[in-house]
Amino acid sequence: MQKMVNVYFYGKKYSVPADLTIMTAMEYAGYTLKRGCGCRHGFCGACATIYRIKGKNELKTCLACQTQVEEGMYVASIPFFPTDKRTYDINEIKPTEQIMMELYPEIYSCIGCNACTKACTQGLNVMQYIAYAQRGEFEKCAEESFDCVGCGCCSTRCPAGISHPMVGVLARRLTGKYIAKETEHLKKRVEEIKHGDYDQLVEQIMQKPIAEMQELYNTRDIEE
């Protein structure tokens, strides 16, 4: 006999197999998901969910696709949250301290309550990466926020109205474009291709008969 648990979707009780995730349990209960369901494997942040276990006080946040159901779980999904992304021209901005002040001034209103970190479904130190952003330490902010899936649970809990995932994206783009060193070998190869250095060679390989390609492929040397 399959072990069952009682869960409450939007307050309504359903008995579902205990080994399901919140997402598959909703489908077991008969829901056809339109919102609140994306990659189903913990990468896209579509299934931000809030729950409380019956009799307990703590309000928890999670990804529905990555969280197993529990007895007495009261579940509400957050199909959309109005995070506030500011727009900018990546070619015009520079990794200066002022840029955060210009685009996301509310980060300086952080009261240090750490609710964002507690709410993070990825276990990231969200308040810390906001602190790095405040100080213009974009590389550290980028690193600390790197595993963010943008579910927005942090922002739902923030008394200062910060859109944390958006701050992380900005820091990462600044780091990737301006702070990490330029790749010389990449620049060189792009130039060579533009210059036509490989045009003839690639045409040649395209024209080769299959038998010759098979021979070339099966005897090619493989870098250690």
Partner: protein
Amino acid sequence: MYTENMQASVKKVEATRAERLGMEPRRMTAEEKDTLLQKFHPDYRKEGFAEIKIGPNKGEKAPAELSHLLHSNSRLLGVDLDLNKIDYDTDVLIIGGGGAGASAAIEANEAGADVMIVTKLRIGDANTMMAEGGIQAADKENDSPMQHYLDAFGGGHFAARPELLKRLVMEAPDAIKWLNELGVMFDKKEDGEMVTTHGGGTSRKRMHACKDYSGAEIMRTLRDEVINRKIPVVEFTSAVELIKDDKGQAAGAILLNMETGDYMVARAKTVIIATGGAGRLHYQHFPTSNHYGATADGLVLGYRAGAPLLYQDTIQYHPTGVAYPSQIFGALVTEKVRSLGAMLVNVDGVAFMHPLETRDVSAASIIRECSERGKGVTTPLGSGIWLDTPMIEQLHGEGTIEARIPAMLRMYLNYDIDMRKEPILIYPTLHYQNGGLEISGDGFTKAIDNLLVAGEAVGGIHGRNRLMGNSLLDIIVFGRNAGKAAAKKAKETELGSMTLEHVVKYAQELKAAAIESEDVSPMLLPNYARHER
């Protein structure tokens, strides 16, 4: 967290680990690979396929589930729609909000065109977001576009379309540069050199990565850029049919608001299908690593409008999907785990194959180990093979797993499995559609000269098997190309009067072929809801 029989097998894996650390398993010969594929690769299982009865690929085979969708009915039959009431009017209409669609949108916008994206979920809810391992480009001294071509061509069983593969390898370095300049954080050394590794079937280390969030890092950057450019993105809105004009050109699409059920008309001078893959059709009952919306919609739309498919009968099963625990069954375990040195090991602790054979060969080999040879580890949902992840920490030092594959570590830790200390159980999962709509080297379908396709919905770039890291690459290369080409083409396109005549004609062909289906297509969303009655 492992069951008793699993724990007993883990002991055997641990017992052989020291010895295995010093050796490299033999690679298979070309003949061995051919025999293995024919006997064990799902593409060779006849019962998984059905003949396509009408349309440009009539008489060819396709996965049974795809054939069924091609044989199903349009939603619009009998629906009274006024095509002259236009809800959206644009130069370039992009169907699909993944990596290919977003790249196309950015380039079309850059070229000065009016462009819009429609997507049935949100922008970024796509297989791109889930690509973990990396993206290939021959940008190092010991490598070249020709070497990349050879690896991809051979890995794809010499079936790739040369003009498509040429574009893929020649534009790869520029794709990386473009992404980097948009702010994608590639793994680099202090001096700026890219950290590159092998993937299955590569002869040079040309896999660029962003930890094991490569696709996510690319997708969230592209999404951010699309929004910065104020490109309209209509979410939770699917395209259910292409609209054509009386000259046979593509002229837009009928859209469906997924939430209200209302139809809308989008008119466009050029249309790009960037709808992605088909994993959620669960061919041959395989689990899938794909996102929720991967239901081959674009293939159905394009085919009904007259665009032919290519290699629709070849599917990629990623060798390492999660076999256990059940909650994440079928989820992807990135190939990077093997790139970093983890071996594939059977129930007795034997490394039965080289860990970096191409994906089709690896998948077939794992299926053989678990079936004919009976050397799999029994799981609640079938069986699996060990991927010996603790080897990574021993080969590259403690902390490597957390630094290089944090998503994998997190996914398993959720279920109390610490992959740094214990091996993990894997089995092939439905991962990628090698085939799709046929395009010419410049990105247009051959049947309709202002209809383009980009990304996983294209067939022919990779031949009959795709190498790791060439898909993230193709969505960028072909997405960008489609955006530029569509913007240019839109300038010289004069639309005639709009019609859905092709939909009616297709229905008549179905009827003439005596095909009756109760179902409608495109599928849009998988049917996962359980209903007791």
